[in-house]
């Protein structure tokens, strides 16, 4: 699959742009702040209808469009074999919103002219974006590695996206209830539903992530060998906060439920949810070295690239078509090293 056309309206620094693109490797080059990264970001937006960086989607709307509530549109035509898929992501500010002070962002998505919810965009265009910030996957906090897995799995599995959204709401409500319990403003039995929902979604999310890490591991190990002359092996392991195979003959659901029941006192004292996939991590090792603490910056960068390429390889295997690889390389780190040549 490749993107054969890109149309931008009021997207970041582009007021209007129509661009026909060829298949194969494509390099955008030019001076700073000309909008090369913004082009990659636009393609990425077509894949999950969210901005790549955790910053708000609002920033993708050009300054002038924000001021007069004009529409920002990203149009992409994806060529999938014989099929052409036309995708439009439209964003504009509406408001003032609920609290009166804020405008809110309205996002509409059309696939081949039919309005679709964001969750149905998943899997239409698969994209893997890599930029300098991605080094966080190796040396940053666990949240960066969870995010990496979540974005990857969301592209393969719509049910996972829905489950993740539900789980986030459960954690949010549950944390509030824990604090109410601490202040004795709620009854413990009010927790039953939230525990049940947390177990249901949490086990599914953690097991799915663990399974994907297993699939990634083999791919990443091989890619890491190709990218470096190093003889050390890359190791990758999902570290769940709850035993995913269950304990003492129970299944994972029962074990998680028991942990929550037994740990309620501690959670109430701390006022936040202590167990579940929102506390999990992925351990990366090179040889015997823990990547998060011991590797050099150069090694970390190579490792991050490896993870991204493994993501692309897994998506390709799952969906039977190659994803669009977007490599943002402001300092020529990869081109210089020849890292993109093996692609």
């Amino acid at each position: 699959m490749y993107i054969s056309h890109l149309g931008l309206t009021n997207f970041r620094n582009y007021q209007h742009l129509e661009l026909d693109l060829p298949p194969g490797l494509l390099v955008f080059y030019g001076g700073n702040a000309q909008g090369k990264s913004n082009l990659l970001e636009a393609v990425y937006l077509l894949s999950i209808a969210k901005a790549y960086r955790a910053t708000s989607d609002r920033e993708a709307i050009s300054r002038t469009a924000q001021d007069d509530h004009a529409h920002t549109q990203v149009l992409g035509i994806a060529q999938k074999g014989q099929d052409r898929v036309r995708i439009v992501v439209d964003m504009h500010l509406e408001g003032p919103g609920e609290d009166g002070y804020q405008t809110y962002l309205r996002k509409d998505i059309w696939v081949n002219g039919i309005p679709r919810p964001a969750s149905e965009l998943v899997g239409v265009v698969n994209a893997v974006l890599f930029d300098a910030e991605d080094i966080q996957m190796v040396s940053g906090p666990p949240a960066a590695r969870r995010r990496y897995l979540d974005i990857l799995i969301c592209q393969m599995d719509r049910a996972y996206l829905r489950s993740l959204q539900k789980y986030q709401k459960v954690v949010y409500q549950r944390n509030h209830l824990l604090r109410l319990l601490r202040e004795r403003r709620a009854q413990p039995e009010e927790m039953d539903f939230w525990n049940q929902a947390m177990v249901q979604e949490g086990v599914y999310i953690a097991q799915r992530r663990a399974q994907v890490v297993q699939e990634l591991r083999a791919l990443a190990r091989e890619l890491y060998c190709q990218l470096t002359e190093a003889r050390e092996e890359l190791a990758m392991e999902y570290v769940p906060s709850i035993p995913l195979d269950g304990e003492e003959g129970e299944d994972a659901h029962h074990t998680f439920a028991r942990i929550l029941e037994e740990g309620l006192g501690r959670e109430v004292a701390l006022g936040s949810s202590q167990w579940g996939p929102h506390r999990d991590d992925v351990r990366l090792k090179i040889g015997e070295m823990e990547a998060a603490t011991y590797v050099s910056r150069g090694q970390a960068r190579t490792l991050a690239l490896t993870l991204k390429l493994a993501e692309g390889a897994l998506l390709e295997r799952e969906r039977g078509e190659s994803p669009v690889l977007l490599l943002d390389d402001p300092k020529n780190l990869w081109v210089e090293k020849g890292a993109i040549v093996p692609l």
């Binding site: 003032p96 919103g97 609920e98 609290d99 009166g100 002070y101 539900k166 709401k169 459960v170 949010y172 409500q173 549950r174 509030h176 209830l177 109410l180 403003r185 709620a186 009854q187 039995e189 009010e190 039953d192 539903f193 939230w194 049940q196 929902a197």
Partner: protein
Amino acid sequence: MTYDFLPSVAAPLARLIEEFHKLPGIGPKTAQRLAYYLIRMPAEEAHSLAEAILAVKERITFCTVCQNITESSPCPLCSSQSRDRSRLCVVEEPLDVLSLERTRVYKGLYHVLHGVISPASGIGPENLKIREMLERLKGNEVEEVILATNPSLEGESTAMYIHRLLLPLVPRITRLARGLPVGGDLEYADEVTLSRALEGRQEM
């Protein structure tokens, strides 16, 4: 709230702006716009608006039986002889009663909770009309309670909480079928979908 950027606004106007600002979804800018709009409004229209607001407060009350909004208590639904008194449908909001009535499938009685359990919004069971519902069910001929809260997390959580309280009191407790879109509101469901959800209700 003080409005430093309106140093010379007349006191009655300032008061009106402040009152508007207390309403849900109305920020300072909108409050100003509404207030200035009212100034230009013909006197009769302004009177009629003020009267409508007072009428809502003076003539609208809550039904002591089902807790729905009504002009007289008990409300027409609760006092009607043609309703099936063996069934009670529990809903989140008064608007849900209207949605269910539109289907013309359901002939039983209602109970309005006026909200759902949501720890994040500080709403617990004691903030809902649950106690009133339990009182109502004591020594009553109700044979089935249909829990028709929305299929959202909060709606499910409320249904589960109430279910436990109802177990010793009611022979049959059911939940609307899953035909409703997840996260969707009863309020926005069309009549056909809602009728199917009612007909396909399941034992909890």
